[in-house]
């Protein structure tokens, strides 16, 4: 059976997911799997199951195989680009699992963000922010936190509390964007 990604090599890793009557199959060759895996060779087989497990976590809204294939495809990079700031190239990043500088994250966004999403399950920082960040970032974070709270209030049907939070969000937004 040929690999679903490169259509060239023989696939050696076969994933089958059965959910009710719905059966999905993914067939990958070693090369493509390594390409998408963000780990070095040593850890590759140990962590492979973990990574696949992540893609197939029940309840994840993107279980459809189309999306999974897209994630994998995004990761098989076409050219070996170099970061303009630190000179680190994608191949090295994939080999070592480490980027060279903060700028790498924005320059290789297309390649790295899906990986980060699959590792961390989120692309939204909810942790603390440094003291010296600009006022705008700080306000934006408060708005994000408030939106989370708003959702929770709506779930428990506390509409009075929700309305208050909504007003606070509006005030903050006005504060940032001047509208």
């Amino acid at each position: 059976m040929k690999c679903d990604f490169c259509y060239k090599n023989e696939a050696t890793i076969h994933l089958i997911k059965i959910q009710g009557s719905n059966i999905e199959r993914i067939n990958i060759c070693r090369e493509c799997a390594r390409d998408f895996s963000f780990l070095n060779e040593e850890d590759f087989y140990n962590d492979l199951t973990k990574i696949f497990y992540k893609f197939y976590q029940p309840g994840d809204d993107g279980i459809r195989s189309g999306r999974n294939k897209k994630i994998l495809r995004n990761l098989s990079y076409g050219r070996n680009l170099k970061c303009s700031y630190c000179g680190m190239d994608l191949k090295t990043i994939k080999r070592t699992g480490k980027v060279g500088c903060g700028n790498c994250y924005s320059e290789f966004k297309d390649v790295l963000f899906p990986v980060i999403k699959s590792i961390q399950g989120s692309l939204e920082n909810k942790g603390k922010i440094p003291l010296n960040t600009s006022r705008k970032i700080r306000l934006e974070k408060s708005i994000r936190d408030l939106r989370c709270k708003l959702q929770n209030e709506i779930i428990i049907e506390n509409f009075e509390g929700a309305a208050k939070i909504r007003d606070r969000i509006k005030r903050l937004e006005k504060n940032i964007y001047g509208r």
Partner: protein, 360 residues
Amino acid sequence: MAGENLYLMKNKTEQEKSAGNRNKIILNTRIWLARNLTNQKFAGAGSGRERNALLEEIKKSVSDTKIFKDFRYYKIGSLGKIQRDLLFKDYMIDAGVANRMQGKGLFIRSRLSSGMSTAVIINHEDHLGIQSTCPGLNIRKAYKEVTGIEKYFEKRLSFAFDSNLGYLTASPFNLGTALRITVIAHLPILIVGPGIADFVKKINSIGCQINGYFVGRSEIIGNLFEISNQVTLGKGERDIVKEMQAICLSIIEDEQNARMQLKRNDLLGIEDNIYRSFGLLKYAKILSYEEALELLSILRLGLDLSIIDGVYDFDFFELINKISNPRIILDMEISDEVNDDRLDSIRAGIIRKKVLKEAD
């Protein structure tokens, strides 16, 4: 009134007892926090000179302060191999990355009274690695220590930060809060029981990973495990701390239940096992590190279950550090070209002295 007092007292001793048991299953807590400076290459990409310059900058920022007064400073490049091995082991630094020594530094403070130690690792994967270890289950205390030092640096240095990705780190596994909480757990019964597969699944499903304590080995030695939070992005620091605390308590409960069950079902079997370990530790003249750990693990279990006496209530984690090869070489001041049999025999001696009440 008197009755109430009595009740309170009883309550307290029970609390202390349960804390004691807790610390016999969760042996150690380690919290690690990474930070990088803005507009600088990360340690992996920078040249030796760039790393050196950064090291100087960081050193300068701590030179005029009281907080760092009782820290000792080591330049990694100028340490001997054994010392380096030991420091790396104690502070859980991955020795594999240590081949490029230039511009790497380490600040250490250890408090003997509380057993707590704090380290700031410079230019090792990330510019700053702030780490604190505490004996037993002590997540909040270690977290407080780490954030205290982070706050200090935050006032003097500017950290690389992105509003979506949080604190930027060399490895995408640490983005966001860049906070990693690791506990070392001693799970001798859970691991052999039938529930182990479910247990590992449970740990993984709540976003944690579980590994053997000894890195780079596929087998489990001494029934010791490392459990740490896997997700650092998309969760707040407080949530991570709270979650890990809850997970640890549930691990302790699982292990304790498994112990009780086994004690009910096969008391003779465990007794036999424990006394066999006791016999070997008492009479063996040479003990390899691995064997010693396995035997001590079972003996510790015997103490926890009050099955054995004639043994000191030893601190398992402290002892396994004390009987490691680099530690023996440094403590005994012997040459590092010593042969294995001699090390193994010294090890057997240390264990007899520390563990058996009637040492020969």
